[in-house]
Each structure stands twice: as structure tokens, then as C-alpha cells.
Amino acid sequence: MAGLFLLMTIVIVMVYFRVRFWSSILLLATIALGWCLLWYHATTPLQINW
């Protein structure tokens, strides 16, 4: 989870330094990883305190 927030922080810094294309790609990749994490939490047999 810390990694996802770190990616978002990197995207903000990239936007500040006007890296438009790669910041968009990284933002989409982070959202995709978020979907994966949602899938993991929905399907894992571990008892998770929601």
C-alpha cells in the first residue's frame, strides 16, 4: 500500500516537472495496481478486518 502511495507521490512530482506522458502512464498503472489489490482483498482467504 505504501508503494502505491509512493507511486502517486512520484506522479505528482512528475506533473510538477512537466513529464506529461509518463506521468499519465504511471497514474494508470497505479490505478491498475489498485484494482489488483482490491481483487486480492476480495478473494483472499485471510481474515481481514475491513
Binding site: M1, A2, G3, L4, F5, L6, M8, T9, V11, I12, V13, V15, Y16, R18, R20, S23, S24, L27, L28, T30, I31, G34, W35, L37, L38, Y40, H41, A42, L46, I48, N49, W50
Partner: protein, 182 residues
């Protein structure tokens, strides 16, 4: 040399649209700061789904920030809308997990609604807000040369960066590099 009228109107529309986007960023950063406040002052640690909702809110605000920095574009609005869809799914999933009568809600309600319900409302309202912006300002106007951000956009940038960095620090402290299993 005097500017043609259509270019002058375009510049004004560009600035107004950027201000509306900066307002969205400041509101989202305020919501995230409020969530931090609940976490710190009420000692309610966020659940994994709450963190994913925060992530989606940051993504939503980044799309608006790109409009401030590079000039308004439909592609930036699309990035915000994708984040909104993701965040809506996460908050609706959490809502449905707690909707059964015997199942307790997560955390203390705020003004009668749980924080994940508020998160869903934030995403739904953001979709409406972005739709209105797309309807009113329906032309992409990417800045062709480097422009300095106005002070309001700089404040929005700083607020969002601090909130995102704060979440990195907290997630590292609470979950290390793991997936925050609650």
C-alpha cells in the same frame, strides 16, 4: 499588437477552467486532510479499503492538477474519471459489506453517514463536477509554452503533495511494505 477577440476569450476561458480544476484539487486535499484528522484525533486507523479510496481520490486530483499544469485537456479529465470509477467501486464494495442489519459499520459515522459512504458521494459529485466542466469548457487548450502556475494552483499542488507524502509515511509506519491487512 492587439490580440484577436477569439484568442482573448480563449485565454480567459483557459484561466477560469484552471481555477475550477484547482478548486477541485483543494477540496479533495481537504477531504483527505479530514480523513487524516479522524485518524489522528479520533484514533481510528484506516482499513485497507479506506486506503484504496484515498488512493483513488489522489488519482482524481492528479487529473485536475494536470489541467492546471499543462492546460485543460479531455485526456486529463479522462484520468480523473477513471480514478473516480475505481474509487466508486471500492467505496460501494465497502458499503455493501456493511449493509447487512446485524453487521456493524466501520468507524464512527460523520454527520450520520460512514466515511466510506461519504467517499462514494465525493466520487459521484466529482463525476458530476467534471461532466459540467466538460460541458461548459468543451475545447482542449494545452499550453504550448511553459507557463508559471498561479498561486492558487501552487497551493493546490503543495496540499496534494503533502497529503500524498503523508500517506506514504503513515502506510510505511503501519503496514511496512505489506498490503495493510487491517
Amino acid at each position: 499588437m492587439q490580440q484577436p477577440l477569439y484568442k482573448l476569450i480563449g485565454d480567459i476561458m483557459n484561466r477560469v477552467e484552471k481555477i475550477f480544476n484547482a478548486i477541485l484539487v483543494v477540496i479533495i486535499a481537504g477531504v483527505l486532510l479530514g480523513a487524516f484528522g479522524v485518524q489522528v484525533f479520533k484514533h481510528e486507523q484506516p482499513c485497507p479499503l479506506c486506503l484504496l479510496q484515498r488512493l483513488a481520490m489522489i488519482g482524481l486530483a492528479i487529473g485536475a492538477l494536470m489541467n492546471c499544469k499543462f492546460g485543460p485537456s479531455k485526456a486529463h479529465y479522462a484520468l480523473s474519471l477513471i480514478s473516480c470509477i475505481f474509487g466508486s467501486f471500492v467505496s460501494m464494495r465497502q458499503f455493501f459489506l456493511h449493509v447487512c442489519p446485524d453487521f456493524p459499520t466501520f468507524g464512527h459515522p460523520f454527520w450520520g453517514l460512514s466515511l466510506y459512504t461519504w467517499a462514494f458521494l465525493v466520487f459521484a459529485t466529482s463525476v458530476a463536477y467534471i461532466s459540467v466542466l466538460l460541458l461548459v469548457f468543451n475545447k482542449s487548450r494545452l499550453d504550448e509554452e511553459r507557463q508559471h502556475l498561479n498561486w492558487f494552483c501552487q497551493v493546490a499542488f503543495a496540499m496534494l503533495f503533502l497529503v500524498a507524502a503523508g500517506n506514504v509515511g503513515w502506510a510505511l509506519y503501519a503496514c511496512q511494505l505489506g498490503p495493510c491487512q487491517g
